[in-house]
Each structure stands twice: as C-alpha cells, then as structure tokens.
C-alpha cells in the first residue's frame, strides 16, 4: 500500500475532464509520431492511452525526480505501445513531447520502437511478450523485501496473455502474495491476426482466478472505473489484482476502431489529417517532419539501479586434498559464508533444485531471501533479473540446461536491461553423467558468446570456486558461473602446495598456468583439468613436458599466457563442451586474428549428443579421457 499513490478516495470530477483532454492530446501525438516515423503500433496505443494517463497521473511518480527510490513502478510489458507511453510521459512533463513525436523510431534516438529505459519514466526495456510482467514481479518482490512504500503497475496486452511465461509469473506473484502488484490488461480483443478469441481462445478471468488472483472487469475507457479499480488494487486488495480493461483498438478515430489492421501500421498523411480532424486536433504534422530531418542528440539522465550495500567478502575458505567435494558444494558453502556476514543483502532464486545446486542451507537459514519458484525457469530468469536491479546481490542457481539453453531469450532481455544477475549453473557437460543428453549442457560458451556483456567463469576446483563467488559478489553485471556435477579434486602446485590458496584472488580474464611445459600446451577448464594434470604426469615419464593452462574465463583471451605458450608450438583445447562452438573456436579466432602461423591447434571436445552413463565412461566414449589427451599430445608434438 502506497499512501501517495491513488490517494483520492474517488476521482475528482474536474480531473476527469483533464484526463479526457490529455488522452485526446496523446491520441493525436500517437498518430503523428507513427505517421512521421512511417511505422509503429497505433492500435494498442490508442486503446491503452486512457489507462496509461490515469496510472501516470495518480501513481507516485514525479517528472522532476523520475528516479526516486520508493517511486511506484510502471512497467509496460507490451513494449510496442511505446507511442502511448512516450506521449503521456511527454505530456506529463518528463521530456519535451515534440522530441518524442519528431524522433520516434529515428536511428539513434531514445524513442525506440519498443519502450526503452533511456526515456525518463520508462522502467524497463521490453518487446518480446511475456517477459516484462515477470521482470515486474521481480521488482515488486524487491520492493516488498525493501519494505518500500511502492506499488508496481504492469500494463499488458491481451494477446500477450497467451505466453506460458505469464502463467508462471502469476503463480509466483500469488505465492509471494504480492499485493503491491497490479496488472492492467488492455483488453481490446484484437491481436495482429484478428480476434484473440479466434486466434487462441482464453477465458482470461477464469485463468487468472485459477491462479489465485483477484480479477476486476472494467470499461477501459471509463476514467472513473479505471481509477476505482487501480485504487482498490493499491489500497484495499490483499492479493495481486488483474484488471481486465475492456477497450477498443484504435479508440477515438472511427475508421481505426476495432480493426486489427491498425495494430502495427501507421496512418498515411491523408488518413492522419482525417483522424486529427475527428479528434479536434490541429494538424501540425509538417512541423514534425521538418524537425525530424534535423539531427538532434537527445540524452537523458538514466535512473541508476538501486545500490546494493557493499558486500563483505572476507573469509576465504581453503580446502585441502582430503576435502572431497564438488564445486557446487563449495559454491553453497561460500554463499552461506557470505550471507552470514551480509544479512538481508542477498537474494537467492531456485527452480526446485536447491538440494542439487546447494542453495538448500541458505534456504533454511534465510527463508525470507530465498525464492522457490518451482519448475518455471522462464519466469525465474526474468524475475531474478528484475530483482537484481533493486538493491540485492542476486543469485539464481540451476542446472546448465535450464539456466541457459531454456532461457536464452530471457537472459538476452536481462542483458539489454543491464541487470545484475549472478547465474550459477551446475551440472554442465557430460560430467552430468547418467541423466543423459537432455540434461547435459554442452553449448553454453557458444550461447554466451552470442551476447555482448555476460561474463562466464568456470572455476577449476572448490578453492577457485570460493574465490570466484567472492569476486562476483562485489562486481556489478551479469555473470554465469558454471560447474559440473561430480566431485572436483583440489588442484595443487608442482610442489604439492594448494594452488588456489589463501593468497589467491580471482581476476576475470586471467588464465592459470597449472603446470609448466615446453612441448605442448593444453588449454582446459572445469572437470577435465584433473585429466589434463594426470596426462601431464604420464607424459613426464616419456620426457614430454605438457603445459597445463586453466581457462577459468573462457570467453576471454589472456594474451600474456597465450603468448608465453606460443613457444610450445602445439596448442590443444580440451573441453567438456561442443567442439564446434567452444573455447577451441574462441582461441582459434584469436590466433587467426593475430596470425600466429606456426601454431598447431588441435581441438578436443564433444561432437555428438552425450550418452547416459558414468561421466568417466562418457568422457572415454567422447574421446576425452586422459589417454586420449596423452595420445593427442604425442601425435602432435614436433
């Protein structure tokens, strides 16, 4: 409940006239900006503008201070109604409305085709349907945890309701009793291809109620009804509320009304003239056409994410050879250790695997900060992303196939929104073993290399895992930390001392030379390191010196280590990963670029989906056993 939000008991009569007037102006703006741009989505913009003008007027937001910490959040899940959003924000003084009209969808302008948070008042970039709502659930969760007097309003389309991810997030909002969240659906009953009922019949009210929401059905062009429903959802409701606002696509212009043709098509200039005439708005289109031709660099102050209080990462744990544990167990222990010193600063998300991904102890100790989302990974990726922008060090731990293969597009939107999510993925690679191919994530490097900013770290052993988790806990940005399933031997130096000892700090992008050698270099990471060290030992007996390099940041090239290794003449990449798009390719790309002509690069990796069996067997079948490596070294050294 936000006392500054929708504070009048009933909508003052004089306000209705104001709202009508501003909505009408916005309708004109919407039509002008889409026509001047030659594209865009007027239909849903016209149907939702009465809703938007009501929300933006009475929600606790402030055009003079769009970033205030406990502001209400308005999240537009159907990002294509950007013309409506930009017009009402402009009319409410967040920026010059003329700029929005003139530069809508012009290359370089912040007024992008789908809402962009470079525009003041826009909280989240959206576009691919279904994700914005989930992100909003994450925001509402954070506000609840932060005990902010803030309400989150989500505007959604009706076609969008078809996305499965929406249903997942509805259940989650109910589970966490997010009465600080309301959804308002622009129920114009049309989607691109026609009537929503023909395209994919949905009993919306029944579906929402079946997931425990309260549903209010209103006329979405009746300001009183919109106000009352929203006020009820903010001040009275004890559970999340969905407002089904019955509207007309293209509302306000008779020839556009209830015609799906105008979902994603701008008016011609003639039609614009006709429409503005009907709206009683002066047609000053020429002004905008001229303005658009002039370049203008429009930059606004961006809202910063809510800061996470400094995390105390002291207290390194050092394991020794007798400690038999996997990296995932080490992750769990470090998480717990950090959590103890940073109470209330850390949130952890799970999808029914906390036992396996080792977040169970955290869950038991810090119940309020642990979110069990069930088998709903699409939502988990977006919700944890949304929460990560709001003041908590945020971890989402899951199996690799669920943490990236299943949610690639959700992580993509997180990246676009510059979230601050730490994805911990266990059960990577053939190392998964018996669960077989559907559960073996062997393509994550190729996937993350397809992004721009996500950082990937694959720790070598429990000691490095501990340091990596501490490292990322104080770094802003999206990280993916990957590990296998099996136990990981503690890595020692030549002299038997622990390699990643108390003096060691993780540095992103740096490789670790585990063994020196002159005859060949093996670049490896994760569970195969132990095999490479074994191969090193075996080869020594034949007087062959294999340099062993741990590539804990496989998206990066550690130029120093690579260049030092050039002298060995032979490079072998050796990975529990698809051989076509793994580290071998990244290194190859680099070497080609640098014209390291004399290097023989041999790639060892996986070239078909894995079998189901003990991982050591699977490595053998895939040609990735110690003996395979030994043989490959012998075959290739000069």
């Amino acid at each position: 409940m936000n006392s500054n939000s929708f504070k009048y008991e009933t909508l003052p009569k004089k306000d209705i006239e104001k709202l009508k007037k501003i909505s009408n102006l916005c309708r004109g703006d919407i039509l002008k900006m889409t026509t001047v741009a030659g594209s865009g989505h007027p239909g849903g913009s016209m149907s939702s503008i009465d809703i938007l003008s009501t929300i933006y007027k009475y929600a606790n937001i402030n055009s003079n201070n769009p970033c205030m910490k406990d502001r209400d959040r308005v999240i537009i899940s159907n990002g294509h109604i950007s013309p409506a959003v930009y017009s009402i924000l402009g009319r409410n003084g967040f920026f010059d409305i003329d700029d929005a009209i003139a530069y809508f969808r012009k290359a370089g302008s912040p007024f992008e085709g789908h809402v962009d948070k470079r525009v003041p008042g826009v909280e989240m970039n959206t576009g691919n349907l279904g994700q914005g709502f989930s992100a909003a659930v994450g925001v509402a969760l954070a506000n609840k945890l932060n005990q902010y007097d803030s309400h989150t309003f989500v505007v959604m389309g009706d076609g969008e309701q078809q996305k499965g991810q929406i249903v997942e997030s509805r259940r989650i909002a109910r589970k966490y009793n997010l009465s600080n969240l309301s959804v308002i659906i622009d129920f114009n009953q049309l989607q691109i291809s026609g009537s929503i009922h023909d395209i994919m019949m949905q009993e919306l009210k029944d579906e929402y109620e079946a997931t425990g929401w309260e549903v209010i059905d209103i006329d979405g062009h009746d300001f009183n009804a919109i106000y009352r429903a929203l006020r009820y959802s903010v001040h009275t409701a004890v559970k999340p509320v969905a407002i089904i606002a019955r509207t007309s696509m293209g509302k306000g212009v008779s020839f556009m009304q209830n015609d799906e043709k105008w979902h994603g098509q701008a008016l011609s200039e003639d039609k614009l003239d006709e429409a503005l005439d009907e709206l009683g708005i002066n047609n000053n289109f020429e002004k905008y056409r001229k303005k658009r031709k002039k370049e203008k660099n429009i930059k606004f102050k961006k809202c910063k994410p809510i800061k996470i209080p400094e995390i105390d990462i002291d207290g390194k744990i050092v394991y020794n050879e007798k400690d038999k544990l996997g990296n995932r167990t080490a992750f769990g222990k470090t998480l717990l250790n950090i959590a103890e010193k940073n109470k209330g600063k850390i949130a952890v998300f799970d999808c029914d695997l906390s036992g396996s991904v080792r977040t169970k102890e955290f869950a038991n100790k810090y119940e309020d900060y642990f979110f069990q989302l069930g088998i709903q990974e699409h939502s988990a990726a977006s919700i944890s992303g949304g929460l990560s922008l709001n003041g908590f060090l945020t971890f989402w731990a899951d199996f690799g196939v669920f943490a990236v293969d299943e949610v690639f597009n959700q992580l993509r939107l997180n990246e676009i929104n510059k979230t601050n999510l730490k994805v911990i993925a266990t059960h990577l690679g053939l190392n998964v073993g018996e669960d077989g191919k559907t559960h073996q994530s062997i393509n994550y490097l190729g996937l993350f290399r397809s992004f721009f900013d996500f950082k990937v770290i694959i720790p070598a052993d429990p000691n490095q895992t501990d340091k990596v988790i501490r490292h990322i806990s104080n770094k802003y940005g999206n990280y993916f930390v990957g590990m296998g399933r099996a136990k990981s031997p503690i890595i020692s130096k030549d002299d038997g001392e622990i390699f990643f000892d108390r003096s060691y700090d993780f540095e992103y992008g740096k490789y670790d030379v585990l063994r020196e050698g002159d005859d060949a270099t093996v670049f490896t990471y994760g569970p195969l390191i132990a095999y490479a060290l074994e191969a090193h030992k075996k080869l020594l007996k034949d007087d062959i010196n294999l340099r062993v390099v741990n590539v804990a940041s496989p998206l990066e090239i550690d130029e120093k280590v690579v260049e030092e290794s050039i002298k060995t003449g032979v490079f072998i990449t050796y990975e529990d990963h698809n051989v076509y798009n793994g580290f071998g390719t990244i290194l190859s790309d680099y070497l080609m670029n640098k014209k390291y002509n004399n290097i023989d690069l041999v790639k060892m990796g996986i070239n078909e989906y894995g079998k189901s069996g003990h991982y050591e067997q699977l490595y053998k079948i895939a040609g990735l056993g110690t003996d395979n490596l030994v043989e490959m070294v012998k075959k290739n050294i000069k």
Copy 2:
C-alpha cells in the same frame, strides 16, 4: 476414437489380478535397475507404474510390431520415470527385461536415464519438463489430419504442470479439439524439493478447466478407475481429457512411500533387499550386477517417422529486376506454389504473424493444414517438431527472435528427436529496423552452430529463396531458413542476366561467386549482398577488383570457393550478425585449422545491440554501410 484401444467396456476381473501382478514385478524391476545403476528416479516410477501398466496393456500397441502406422502413441513427458517405462515395456515383451535392468544408465546402452526412443515402445525422447506434452499435441494433430484411428496418451508429472509451456499446449489442444489426446498426471503431490503445494501452489483442476479441458480425478492405484477414465477419454469424451491420478510417490514400499527423498535417489543394496522382501520379490540383484559388468551391444530396430509422400517441387519461379519483393514474400509465393501441387501433404504453423511471415495466403487456401498457435512459441516449436515426424512436410514460420532465441531448448529436443522441421525465420538482423533491439535476431549462427545437425540457409534474393524452399521440401531433417525484413533486390550476373535463374538449383553447402575479383574477397549473405555488389562497382572505378561471395550456407565451408579465393590475399566477412559468433568466426576457425597463414581476415559485423530506425541508417551506425566496406577493402588490400 480408436476401436482397438481400451475395447472392453469394463475391466475384466481377471485382468485386475494380472495388472496387479505385473505392476508388482515392475516395482521390483524399477528398484533393481536403479540400485544396479546407482542412480535414477524410483519415486515417480513407483507412483506411475499402475497407470503405465494399464495404458500399455489396453492401448492399441503391439510388442511384435511396435512401429505400426496407426498405433496408439504413449508419450512420456516426464522422461525421468524411465525405470517404470522400461520395466513395463520389458514385461510386455518389447525386449528382454533383464537387459533393461542390467544396463540401465550404462554408457552406450539405449536404456538411458531419460526415456530414449532407441528403446522399442518409446515414442519420443524427453527430459526437460513440459516439452513432451507439446510434442504429443503435435502427434495428435497429425493423427487427426491423417485420420488415423489412433489415440495419444501423455503421461506427465505433477511438478511438470508448473511449466508455462504446458498451459500453452493445453490451449492449443482445446482449440484443435483433440479428443484423440488424453493426459494422465501422476499426481503424487511431491516434487524434488517437497510438496507441490508448498513449492508452487496450483489448482490443477481449475487450471485445466479454465483452458477448456475435461478433468477426471481418480485414485491412480485403482486399476478399475484408471481403466474407466482412460476408456472414457478414448471412446466417449468429445474434448481433450486430463486425468488427475492421485498416487503415492514410492508406492508399494512402505519406507519409500510419500517421501520426496526417493524422487531421484536409488536404494542401497540393503534397502533394496528390504524393499523386495516387502514386495514379495526374489532378490536376484547379484545376477544383474554381474551381467552389467559384461559389455553388451544392444541395438533395436528403430521406428521410422511416417513418410511424407514425395513432394512435387517443379515450377520454379524466376523474378526479375522489376519485381520488388522481399525474400519472405518469395517464400510465401513458393510455399503456395508447392502447396497447390501437393495438397494435403503440407502443414504450416504460425504464431500470430502470418501476415508478416507471408503464410497468410496458405492459411486462407488450406485452412485445415494451417495451425494458428497464437503467441506461444515454446509450444509451437515442440508441436511442429512432433507433427513433422508424422507424414507432413512441416513449416513453422516466425520472426527470428521467436524462432530461435526464444526456443533454443525446444529446438534442441527436436534435434535430439531427429525431427523434420523447416523453420522459416523472417526479420533477422538489423534489417528489422524500427522495431529495435528486442526484435533483431543477430545471433542465430552462434546458436545453430551450438547444435550438431540443424542446417541453416540464408538465401540471397527472392530467386534463391524460391530454389531453397523447393530444395528443403524434399530433404529430410531440420532446416532453418533465414531472411531479413526489407525488400531484396534481384541479383544479376556481371552481364545483367539473372543470377539464380531457371537453370539454377540450390545445393546445400555451396557458395555462389557473384562477382570475380583478385584484390580481396568479401564473404557475405542476406541483405548485405546488395551493399557488397555496390561496393564492388565503386571499387572498380579505382581499379580494385573485389570478389563477392554469397554464403547461403553459413554453417558450412565451401572449400572450393574458399581455396579459389585465397589468391586474393584478403578476406572480409561482412554480416548483419553479431561479429563475435557469426560466419567470420566459422571461416576463421577453418582457416586456422588449414593454416592459411597469408590471409588477412577482417571481420565486419555487429558489436552491440542495434538501435531502432531505418535499417539503412542502422547499418551505417554499425559500420556496415557500402562505404564502410569500400574503405575496409582499400585499407586492407596489399
């Protein structure tokens, strides 16, 4: 309605005893195989075995002919209950039960941890929850189209119901009135982390009913009840039926019962002894342990997908310069042309974009073979994959971001199941223009390179598009054909003749040399080809000869063309794609591997998310305009 399926009006009394006996034996098998393997999922296997033994007995399937065309289909969506599935199939004579017990989860054996269709009687590989149900909807759709007297039974877990994809597919099954489909949910009310009600509360009955299904609630250990519900769903129901079968996890062994601990954990040998004792089954565990040690190559005859009748692909369309159209329009025309000559052989799937992806005319003409699935891409990917195995040339057309970024994991399961799906992706790259970054798919090559078999084709112009669509229409396998949004100029030869003319046939993996040249080679594809040809022309004025190569199969290396191009000394890859994981990387990888040391490889591509604006502007901003290419050539030639 299948007259051979569940044909007794009531379950014969003597059968109940038989079912009890066989289920009990299976429980023993389940426990033995998981203990001998040391892992697996006994809990859900024990709770679902009574359901499975009933289905497999009365469904129209035949252990002597597991591949018969109009057989009933049993699809196990919760693939981890493989021990139950293998045990009942073995006991029903599909194979030697002893092999299943001894070699469960042994590397190389078909008895994988998640059901594998190398095992006779298993219809579909599954594992990641939610997808199997969708694939089954595809199978049921195909059976309906084929007018096969065949029923599809889907076995699902209750935790699995949380996946959003399930809800999407429920709606689709209702829309297409799939009364030939029943779902039976093993409602043991436990998932890995505990009670399904605690993990993620769901009113299952309400949720199914809200999506228009009929729900039957039964005791899942009462054979009479199971039989009656299934018979009703096959013979009487007029809509899809969901049977909520109330069961107990670990049923049959008192210390296992209703304890989620046994979801994914095998019994120790001692506990196995105790359990078998309770089941009244002789403990012959030793026999299996010994047998497991011996290698055995188990191979079964696989069921072939239902054959698609030969497609007549004659009737090439040749466009000339005056035809202003995009590749997506050419796709639509070719599709229609092929459909006219192959009535009833082609199915097309859409996710509310048929106007944009140009399947609308097909939809209008061949209504029965056009499936409008709404904005439900996860389901669309899996359903179209399922249907593609059952006798129809299957196209799914969508925007790139939805056709791969959003459904990577669904396509992965398709690949594992060796489906035969033709994904047509329009709106790739910055070429999308004004819709902006959320809608610009700029990473598809990196994603498909992370698979093993999916083929990717990016046609150069409408003429090549026509030939490509004809080509793939008669090829088995999964294809991704990608195109931009804008119009594509018709490519001509030097002499002005049409390049991809009537004499041209598409060959996968072959590049096209569009212009000869000695000074540098540009490798490009898709919408940038026109720019490269323009650059070729401009450079000629400076006496620089740029070789222009169209890479329509960018996952492949055309060694002949690459080797011929070596003489030019400079290679420029020039793509409307993420520069870090696109064709430039594929070529670099090849060159490094082949040690083409003297080549300068320059990569031009996208290095940040795109803006929203006219695509020509976006290319300029990204440094991908014609002038950028001209400059790059000049800078790099020797």
